[in-house]
Amino acid sequence: MNKRYLMAALLLACGAAQAQEAFPSRPLTMVVPFPPGGVADVTGRPTAAALEKVLKQPVTINNRPGAGGAVGNAAVANARPDGYTVVMALSSITVIPEADKLFNRKPAYTLDQLAPIALVSADPVILVVHPSLPVKTLKDVIALAKKQPGELSYSSSGVYGALHMPMEMFLHAAQLKMRHVPTTGGGPAITQLLGGHVTMTAGGPAAITSHVKAGKLRPIVTWGAERHPNYKEVPTFKEQGHDIVYYIWAGMFAPAGTPEPVMKVLRDAVRQAVGDAEFKAQMARVNSPVNYLDAPDFAKYVDADAKRLATVVKAIGRVQ
């Protein structure tokens, strides 16, 4: 027993000693829990590049894909809370522990293990249908779905995934039934719709824009709180009388227990980084709108999102 206390004291002392050093004194690692080229990756890389300028230390990207982001998120949740390891997570970070609970699994990590640093980007999704479907507005969709209960179908990026959540929100709010065809990602979900194998899907603006312009997909309604600047003619769910909002967001977290002064350095660094001109240009090129929130606001944002999504996960229940 004594030994353990001694160890703990030693560890604390080490931690204290490190905190006294000016942070950061060595390179940082930004874990991206998805493969290169995904939303988290194309957001993480410009952010890391901008952070390097501010922190005057290299920030290396470490892609740790697996289990819908659970592997990378868990790696950071269990990393040493010294601020040298951070994660660029997507909104799925709140859903994974909820799904674990649903299946009585030992959770890969819990949200308490992560301390929010800042929200970097947030993008609403848009409901798109195959152009052969005789619907133009949300009312048409609902009317058609009520006329043919359980006949319409939608594709998603995977069960409990980033595109399944908004569709279920919508179906519960409007009390509709549709067939769900999960796929293995956002790309395949849109491919299924383009081929006419399903009738609709929720898609991010960047993923659907070229197809909408070519007339291969028809946008109906957005989950955004307000209309999307590139889709001025597409109304929001709120305007149509359904109180649902959903964004796919990307934000930075550190392991919980990271010392407050270190957190402050990281928060200040991100605030400066998102103002960087090169960063803004890069984000505009990948059609990802910068949406910055500092830690206190971001924490509230994550909480609200987690609660909202937990309700949806419970409403879906275990898929049989």
């Binding site: 290169p36 289990a67 796929t183 399903v198 898929v319």
Partner: protein, 508 residues
């Protein structure tokens, strides 16, 4: 036609710009090197290189990455043939006959045929891409889950022709592969299966660590178990060059493999992995002496190698014509042009003619570069075999571990690879063939997903398979193949297996 020709000339004017040419060359070299690293395949190669392309212009980025992609496809065959280590799933079949040829001192012809086959397939693929992309792309979209299921069933029945061992052992191994494929999160329901609480197993067991373990590591262990070290080979120059007979035997498999690979490659999804397996099965079925397969048949190298390179080119059809990813590799390449603000989509060819035609032209160039690069290198590569095994094998083992880890920075993959090495060693000692394990592992998750997606689409009605013409056609072909496959099981002694004494007649 004239228009296509003019566009292509414009494309070549882009591809021959010194800077573009230089990067195409770099891409091919890096790709070849990456492909030769055990455990590292095209996906790992372009994922590692993607961040470096963010600072380049989009044409150069895509030319560089595609060079790495098909360069790695070429390079992957080198380690498969020389050391029985597949760099990716597509070169598993090359290991079987390619390595057998190496053991007979015929590594040179095997490598040369692989390079020639890849060149022919790559070039035919680009021609197909150039002339047919928009037409084929719309056809490819019609491949929904039901069609996919039918295609994969066809792939499954190829199993019967894959292995040289007894049918029972082949099926046992295929089932083992399918069971391995069950591990991980069920995409339809979110349940985690057989992962024992290990988060890293959530995505299932990767094909690369399994293939490297089963084929490569087990080979190293087998060699270590021999009383005398294997003789170090000293090939003469004559032995490096394929004979006229080799070329004659390979011509038809290369053409068939190219066509088959291209057709499978354009279908969205990861079905291109099965192209090399299907090609191998087809060649064996069509061969007059199927018993030579598995013991150094050059057709067994020519067919699959051409098929996987043609499939790699075919995968660009939906990517460029529609802007949709056909698999992880094309998804990364799409990301590479998206970060430059180009939205890939159905309008890409009209809006970015420089990009499309420059890319097509650079693929012609790249294929020639790879042939020129690889043929003279055959001699050099074969000389690697002169290194005494006591030095060569520890190095290979180290490369395998590093390569496997770097794919997703995951130590779990390394453990899987090492465990599979031991499993492979034991299975080979008992005379089991390992290729069916790889095919089972590749097919299992894809087949399950597409079958269940098809049923989700129809609300559980199996009749969906009968309402869709493409699916019906393929199911009929699959049924015919199944009948051919089970014929020897019913009428014992009518098969080549019994001719060479592999399956004993029923009454003995």
């Amino acid at each position: 036609m004239i228009e296509t020709f003019n566009s292509l000339m414009m494309g070549f004017s882009v591809a021959f710009q010194p800077q573009v040419l230089m990067y195409a060359f770099f891409g091919c070299i890096i790709g070849t090197l990456v492909g030769m690293m055990p455990g590292l395949g095209p996906l790992a190669g372009i994922s590692l290189l993607l961040p470096a392309t963010f600072g380049l212009n989009p044409i150069i980025a895509i030319v560089l990455l595609s060079g790495v992609y098909y360069g790695a496809m070429y390079g992957g065959s080198t380690t498969s043939i020389l050391m029985r280590i597949p760099g990716e799933a597509a070169s598993v079949m090359t290991c079987v006959d390619g390595y057998a040829m190496t053991q007979q001192g015929r590594a040179g012809p095997a490598l040369a045929i692989a390079a020639i086959g890849s060149f022919v397939a790559g070039t035919l693929g680009v021609i197909g891409l150039m002339l047919l992309a928009p037409t084929l792309a719309d056809f490819a979209l019609r491949f929904g889950p039901p069609e996919y299921t039918a295609l994969l069933l066809m792939g499954l029945f190829v199993l019967a022709y894959m292995s040289g061992g007894s049918m029972l052992k082949t099926l046992a191994m295929a089932v083992f592969g399918l069971l391995l494929g069950m591990i991980g999160i069920d995409v339809m329901s979110g349940y985690t299966r057989f992962s024992f609480g290990i988060t890293e197993l959530g995505d299932g067991v990767g094909i690369v660590p399994v293939a490297v373990g089963l084929f490569g590591i087990s080979e190293i262990l087998m060699t270590a178990g021999q009383a005398d070290p294997p003789k170090v080979q000293q090939p003469s120059l004559r032995q490096l060059i394929p004979t006229a007979g080799d070329l004659r035997h390979s011509a038809a498999p290369i053409l068939r493999g190219s066509l088959l690979g291209f057709m499978i490659g354009i279908i969205p999804g990861s079905a291109h992995i099965i192209s090399s397996f299907v090609s191998y099965g087809m060649e064996r079925r069509l061969s007059k002496n199927p018993e030579r397969f598995g013991h150094g048949a050059i057709e067994g190298v020519a067919g699959p190698e051409s098929a996987n390179n043609a499939a790699a080119t075919g995968a660009f059809v939906p990517m460029l014509a529609l802007g949709i990813p056909t698999g992880p590799v094309t998804a990364v390449m799409l990301a590479a042009i998206m970060v430059h603000g180009i939205l890939p989509g159905p309008m890409l060819i009209q809006q970015q003619p420089d990009l499309f035609w420059g890319f097509v032209a650079s693929m012609y160039v790249g294929n020639v570069v790879l042939l020129v690069l690889n043929l003279p290198m055959v001699g050099l590569f074969v000389n690697l075999l002169r290194i005494p095994y006591a030095y060569l094998y520890p190095c290979i083992l180290a490369f395998c571990i590093v390569g496997c880890y770097s794919v997703s920075n995951n130590t779990m993959d390394v453990w899987i690879m090492l465990a599979m090495g031991v499993v492979g060693y034991v299975l080979r000692k008992f005379g089991f063939d390992l290729a069916p394990v790889a095919l089972g592992l590749v097919l299992g998750p894809m087949l399950e997903l597409s079958l269940r997606q098809a049923l989700a689409m129809s609300g559980g009605e199996y009749s969906i398979f009968l309402h869709r013409p493409i699916a019906v056609t393929m199911l009929v072909i699959a049924a015919v193949m199944l009948l051919f496959a089970i014929k020897p099981l019913i009428f014992k002694g009518k098969d080549w297996r019994s001719k060479v004494g592999l399956d004993e007649p029923a009454d003995s």
